[in-house]
């Protein structure tokens, strides 16, 4: 008995904590299947008497969530694709090339990481407006095509690659781009995946910036749609709101389940952000 306890004591501690962490998700799921009256009726119990699956199509019909989903996928996908290109090129330059002002420029990249994103919202807003990109998907994508944090992460990863591999690649006839493609990138895949996960989660859930620069349904993203549903003039319909929330978080949850190992590695790689 004592042996079993000493071996499995951490389960006794972690299981309740896990349940605590899961409880909001469970509550959201359960509520999405209740009727309106069951939500605030304490006598109704934790589980719905009859699962109201109709809440889901009803929630999706209140606003064009299909459109919002497509926009979220387009915006997040475009941002991550652009970031992977820009951070790769910038990180390689900072890691392996010598050029005037390199240290100063890298210092500026680091300063950019330290800035809270909200501090530059106003200047970005003005820039987007001047560029005539307001209320378009470009307004959601363009400010994020580069990433100081991603450049820093990848530069550190590139510096771990032995310099002799680059020498060998040069002798094998590779220029900088070839060396990057054939030698460096395959060796830093874990870092790329880690950064991609962080970026996807950040931009998928982004609410503030899209709220600022969009005002039509054609360009709204899922978090905005969810927010509008929560603020409906008639008062929040909690069952439909929870159903819509499940729809919004499901892609990310699926993403997490598939890449959960990489997700954890990404925080270990990057330090807790």
């Amino acid at each position: 008995m004592r042996h079993t306890l000493s071996k499995y004591w951490h389960h006794l501690v972690l299981l309740p904590l896990a349940l605590l962490w899961l409880s909001p998700m469970l509550w959201i799921g359960v509520t999405s299947l209740k009727t309106k009256s069951e939500v605030f009726d304490s006598a109704a119990g934790w589980l719905p008497s009859v699962a109201q699956w109709s809440n889901y199509p009803a929630a999706l019909s209140v606003a064009p969530f299909g459109r919002y989903l497509i926009n979220s996928v387009l915006v997040t996908g475009s941002i991550i694709a652009a970031q992977l290109i820009t951070i790769t090129l910038a990180a390689y330059a900072f890691a392996r090339l010598r050029f005037p002002g390199k240290n100063l420029l890298f210092g500026l990249f680091l300063v950019q990481i330290m800035f809270p994103i909200y501090a530059i919202f106003l200047t970005n807003f003005v820039t987007i407006r001047e560029l005539g990109l307001m209320n378009s998907l470009w307004a959601l994508i363009v400010p994020f095509v580069a990433s100081g944090y991603g450049t820093f992460m990848l530069r550190q990863a590139f510096r771990q690659v032995p310099a002799e591999l680059a020498d060998a690649a040069r002798l094998d006839g590779c220029g900088h781009l070839s060396t990057l493609w054939h030698v460096y990138l395959p060796l830093v895949k874990p870092t790329l995946v880690a950064f991609a996960i962080i970026s996807v989660v950040t931009h998928w859930n982004d609410y503030m910036w899209p709220l600022l620069v969009t005002n039509s349904e054609e360009v709204r993203t899922l978090p905005i749609g969810l927010g509008l549903l929560a603020k409906a003039d008639s008062g929040a319909d909690w069952t439909r709101l929870m159903a819509a929330t499940i729809v919004v978080v499901s892609p990310l949850l699926l993403f997490f389940v598939i890449f959960q190992r990489r997700f954890v590695d990404s925080f270990m790689h990057a330090g807790i952000k």
């Binding site: 002799e164 020498d167 060998a168 040069r170 002798l171 094998d172 006839g173 054939h182 060796l187």
Partner: protein, 363 residues
């Protein structure tokens, strides 16, 4: 294969000189070893030959063609790195084929044929589908050599390729490299800090120190006739004994006076310039004399044994000769004891004289 010529080749980093005015002419099929202590400029020289470092001054010619400004992949050279530099994410086959795919117009079948030919020479045919982390150190070494072989270059460059191997494997690979050189007739430039590798592998060895070439000659010439005190001390283990003596002209002739012994120079030895002189004697040119009389050409002196180190086949005995301390290689059959009074024989026929100021040897 090809000849290689470095003409006044120099490399500076800002105000710091890494290699200074290096002149080296390496003949076709020669195995040239660049040897020297860490920081002497040997690896920098190798990287300049490879094109991985730019040449600050001077010219580099391969087969008579000036390649000073030619990019590395166009110099027709191949290099084996100290850490092998195998691409971790590629199989041994791909590591060997990659360079051919990038720099040549060979089709897939020809590349495959070359890879298998090199693999056969190096006995690694069954390792081609493995990745580097599935190979032992010696196997990775062979794949790295194979990657160089498949290119059929004019010049092979080796940058301390055996330094990461254990002693037994190092001996084995040394023999393999020697076999490859004699079988394939390749022109090789080999960098090492290990003088045993230099002596056993090189057709000629170039001793470097502080960015400068000290001596470039056959191993035995460098060993027997070191050009200066640095070469005398660096080549040979243990290093050559250097005794500070006085040179004078006496009625008997020109004499080297070591206080505990005197050497009369023969008429053929050039006269040293000054009164002070350094007498260089290798440990194996010293021996414990069984009697007080010795054959001609040999000198006798009385000394006291200090430390004795057993090496197995023989031993090294430290002998105090007046104010000199010498190391002698002695047989284990006649092992002296510390503190023992001994008669030391000195074979002066192979002794070298050096200028104590410049360090250069007298011819």
């Amino acid at each position: 294969m090809a000849s290689l010529s470095l003409q006044q080749v120099g490399k500076t980093y800002g105000t710091q000189t890494a290699v200074e005015a290096l002149d080296l002419d390496i003949a076709d099929r020669e195995f040239t070893v660049l040897v020297g202590p860490s920081g002497c400029g040997k690896s920098t020289t190798l990287r300049m030959i490879a094109g991985l470092e730019s040449i600050t001054s001077g010219r580099l010619l391969i087969d008579g063609k000036d390649v000073t400004e030619v990019p590395p992949q166009q110099r027709d050279i191949a290099m084996v790195f100290q850490s092998y530099a195998l691409y971790p994410h590629m199989t041994a086959y791909m590591n060997m084929a990659f360079g051919l795919m990038k720099t040549t117009r060979l089709d897939k079948r020809e590349i495959e044929a070359r890879v298998h030919e090199a693999a056969s020479i190096l006995h690694i045919e069954d390792l081609l589908l493995r990745k580097p982390n599935e190979l032992s150190g010696g196997q990775r070494q062979r794949v790295a050599i194979g990657r160089a072989l498949v290119r059929k270059p004019k010049v092979f460059l080796f940058d301390e390729p055996l330094s990461n191997l254990d002693a037994k494997l190092r001996n084995h690979m040394r023999a393999e490299l020697k076999r490859l050189h004699s079988e394939l007739g390749i022109t090789v430039v080999y960098v090492t800090h290990d003088q045993v590798e230099a002596m056993t592998l090189g057709t000629r060895i170039a001793v470097m120190a502080a960015g400068r070439l000290q001596q470039f000659d056959t191993p035995m010439t460098v060993y027997r006739k070191p050009a200066n005190t640095f070469v005398a001390a660096f080549i040979g283990a243990p290093e050559m004994n250097l005794l500070r003596c006085r040179h004078s002209q006496t009625a008997e002739g020109r004499v080297i006076d070591g206080m505990s012994f005197r050497i009369t120079l023969d008429g053929q030895t050039p006269a040293p310039a000054g009164d002070d002189i350094l007498l260089g004697i290798r440990p194996e040119e010293l021996f414990l004399a069984p009697a007080d009389t010795l054959p001609g050409g040999q000198l006798m002196a009385h000394g006291t044994v200090g430390r004795v180190e057993l090496l197995g086949a023989d031993a090294l005995a430290e002998v105090n000769l007046g104010h000199h301390r010498l190391v002698a290689r002695v047989s284990t059959e006649q092992l002296p004891q510390p503190g023992q009074q001994v008669v030391l024989g000195i074979d002066t026929r192979r002794a070298r004289l050096f200028d104590p100021v410049s360090g250069y040897a007298h011819a």
